[in-house]
Symmetry: C2
Subunit: 158 residues, 2 copies
């Protein structure tokens, strides 16, 4: 019986984190996309691209976690956990980059460029989207850290 580190893959905490990631990412995507011409701005396109990568990744791993939780059997192969850790770290860096770009551009639009780029409602939607992207990034970092923490114990079993 391996020790169950809460938050690492195959636990219910991990399932909750993954679902949170997917939820915040979908929220960020919806605030950004619905009825807004986001493709006019580079950094908003970047955010949409990254969220399009994050959502399937989080949902897939949520399904894996749900399977482990309900079957009550975690199969942790070193190679699979290694791939998950690397993917998590790369997506976490990309999410941070996208969230910061969106936040800084929407702030610049509001404070400097004025109402010529976004009306009052649009501006607050861009800001909400950036906030959701930041929340999604923090959860993504959490699961990356938990899985990284798990890695040495898997190595020592080999």
């Amino acid at each position: 019986m391996e020790p169950q580190l809460p938050g690492s893959i195959g636990t219910s905490a991990s399932l909750a984190i993954r679902l949170g990631q997917a939820m915040f990412s979908v929220a960020s995507l919806l605030f950004m996309c619905v009825g807004v011409q986001f493709y006019a701005y580079t950094s908003f396109c970047f955010l949409v691209t990254i969220k399009g990568l994050t959502i399937p990744w989080s949902l897939t791993l949520a399904i894996v976690d749900a399977y482990s939780v309900f079957i009550k059997r975690t199969s942790r192969h070193l190679q699979i956990v290694l791939i998950i850790v690397i993917g998590d770290w790369i997506l976490s860096f990309l999410s941070l980059a996208a969230a910061c770009s969106t936040a800084s551009v929407s702030d610049f639009m509001v404070t400097e460029a004025g109402a010529s780029f976004c009306g009052g409602k649009m501006c607050s939607r861009y800001r909400l989207s950036a906030a959701m992207a930041c929340l999604s990034w923090s959860l993504s970092l959490a699961s990356a850290l938990f899985n990284l923490w798990l890695l040495p114990s898997l190595y020592s079993n080999y």
Copy 2:
């Protein structure tokens, strides 16, 4: 005799990486600051703040590395390496955030907001500053990874 992982603290590769970080950070700061009213924009202020944190950190660790290289004696205490790793990771995330913000805002200025915010020369200076910040981030990530890699071997010695 401990194994010398190239790039971890106390090696000449680490000294080179730290000097590179400091150099690119100073370049980014100079492109941003000299003769430019950067404090009008939030994300440029953020970049300057983060570079003001990164430069002393990199230079201090460069001095430690230089001392280790020339004395040919590395003293690696677990606690000290742990502090360095945590500091490196936090600074690496902050550098990425600052670099992305600067890059996206300067891109937005050039493509959308037009010449009202920056003349031709200023715009290219902002862009150069963002590029230097990205290079500094990549070196910062490199040294964070190398030092993280060193950590488990120090734990196993205890």
